[in-house]
């Protein structure tokens, strides 16, 4: 067990009881989570092995690095190779694009840097007025408000943002049409921002929902809540992470996102283009939108890469893993050609990718 919440007493006893209670559920159940941090906890503590085989826990498209499509990665690499300074979160550096990663581009001399926060990237722009800084902004609702806050404060003229931002409910909407799932564990830190309201539509469609935190007992409590609902034949949104998630979410963050971004159709790796599932900067912020400001610089080269990509056969099954239709164990390259030191696909790169978590915690 990790360092526990100071407010939860007897976590070991709690977990024991939760596992007993879950094991008493007599019927098969397919429960999907949609959060890379949930997968990490589940893999790390062997939660699947503690449950009866009839209760399956599937991993959905919950890792923002993993769902970032080749096109956005290629665009960021091209911006760096054209002489701009590309700044992003650490995990993005090693994700392979069509021909190389941002890390490879850096090894060839491109200026690629990683930061902990968008504020560090803004500071870099302020300290280097002669450089053009592009922040490659990826993430779900948890991360998006930090970009919105930076935009709202006003950005330096040499700072722009390439957005690859994703909203989780439209992806769930697509998944429920495509795969056989009984209930969902909703992502706790996304819900800290959005609240539990966006999940009501899935409960209305008949899917029990439990918003869960990230300790092993939080996830077990979420699973128990879902099974209780299934047993009772109900479908509601329940909150197993009350200490952080409020029904209404974080209204300040929601307002900032609405002020700064328009909702647009975006591409997800493994899921294709999903209507109204992403954000791009509103027109009034276009001077800080790298996809507008620098489009002419990279457009032709990106088209060439798209052509190469369309002819290239990839053996990586990351896209199938992201939709819960396969696990890393189904991939012939897992732990062979594909390892965290030499990742073939993004699911092996990110600390939250299912392949990475399984490599770390679930190998025999």
């Amino acid at each position: 067990m990790t360092k526990t919440d100071p407010f939860v007493k007897n976590p070991v006893e709690v977990q024991k009881k939760l596992i007993e209670s879950i094991a008493a559920y007599p019927k098969p159940a397919r429960i999907m989570h949609i959060c890379g941090t949930h997968e990490r906890t589940i893999a790390k503590y062997g939660i699947r092995s503690l449950l009866p085989d009839r209760i399956e826990v599937l991993s959905g498209p919950g890792c923002p690095v993993c769902v970032t499509p080749d096109d956005d990665i290629d665009a960021a690499i091209l911006l760096a190779k054209k002489g701009l300074t590309v700044v992003t979160f650490g995990d993005m550096l090693r994700v392979p694009g069509t021909e190389e990663s941002l890390f490879d581009a850096r090894a060839e001399g491109a200026d690629v840097r990683m930061v902990y926060s968008i504020d560090d990237a803004v500071k870099l722009a302020e300290e280097n007025p002669e450089k053009e800084i592009v922040f490659f902004s990826i993430g779900f609702e948890t991360t998006i408000p930090t970009t919105a806050a930076a935009v709202r404060r006003g950005l330096p003229s040499n700072f722009s943002i390439y957005t690859s931002l994703k909203l989780t409910p439209p992806a769930i909407n697509l998944l429920v049409q495509d795969i056989n799932v009984d209930a969902f564990i909703a992502p706790g830190h996304v819900a800290v921002i959005t609240g539990t309201v966006p999940y009501e539509e899935f409960a209305e469609k008949g899917y029990p929902i439990a918003v869960a935190g990230f300790e092993s007992y939080d996830i077990l409590l979420g699973i128990k809540m879902l099974l209780d609902q299934m047993e009772a034949g109900t479908s509601n949104v329940e909150n197993a992470y009350m200490r952080a998630v409020k029904t209404e979410g974080n209204p300040i963050a929601i307002k900032m996102m609405n002020d700064v971004f328009d909702i647009v159709d975006v591409e997800w790796r493994g899921l294709g283009i999903i209507p109204e599932s992403g954000y791009r900067l509103k027109e009034k912020y276009q001077e800080n939108d790298a996809a507008v400001k620098f489009k002419k610089i990279y457009e032709d080269d990106l088209n060439k890469l798209r052509e190469i990509r369309s002819k290239k056969k990839k053996n990586c099954i990351c896209a199938t893993i992201l939709t819960g239709k396969a696990t890393p164990a189904d991939c012939p390259m897992f732990d062979k050609a594909c390892k965290p030191t030499n990742p073939i696909g993004p699911c092996m790169v990110s600390d939250e990718g299912m392949c990475h978590s399984w490599y770390k915690y679930c190998r025999d």
Binding site: E13, G36, F89, D120, T142, L221, K224, R243, E352
Partner: protein, 85 residues
């Protein structure tokens, strides 16, 4: 990526920044998403994600979680007793 770490506000730096104590490691954190430092007190527990505090963890809500677990233990014990275990 969506990982958020709980910490305790140790010092208010200016109108939108505070220093947060993550179990002995201190870092500067942006408070814009909580409405700035006027909404925060030293000693508050916050959840921090990529340099921004995104939520205040109140004692009341934390207590509710703890109570949910306590209720669960009590309910299980009652069931065990009924079953004669």
């Amino acid at each position: 990526m969506c990982i958020a770490i709980p910490g305790k506000i140790s010092k208010i730096i200016d109108e939108n920044k505070a220093e947060v104590d993550f179990g002995g490691v201190y870092r500067e954190v942006n408070l814009d998403l909580l409405g700035g430092s006027s909404e925060i007190n030293v000693g508050d527990h916050v959840l921090v994600h990529v340099g921004y505090a995104i939520s205040i963890i109140t004692e009341e809500e934390a207590r509710l979680t703890a109570e949910a677990f306590d209720e669960l233990l009590a309910a299980n014990e009652a069931m065990d007793q009924e079953a004669g275990i």
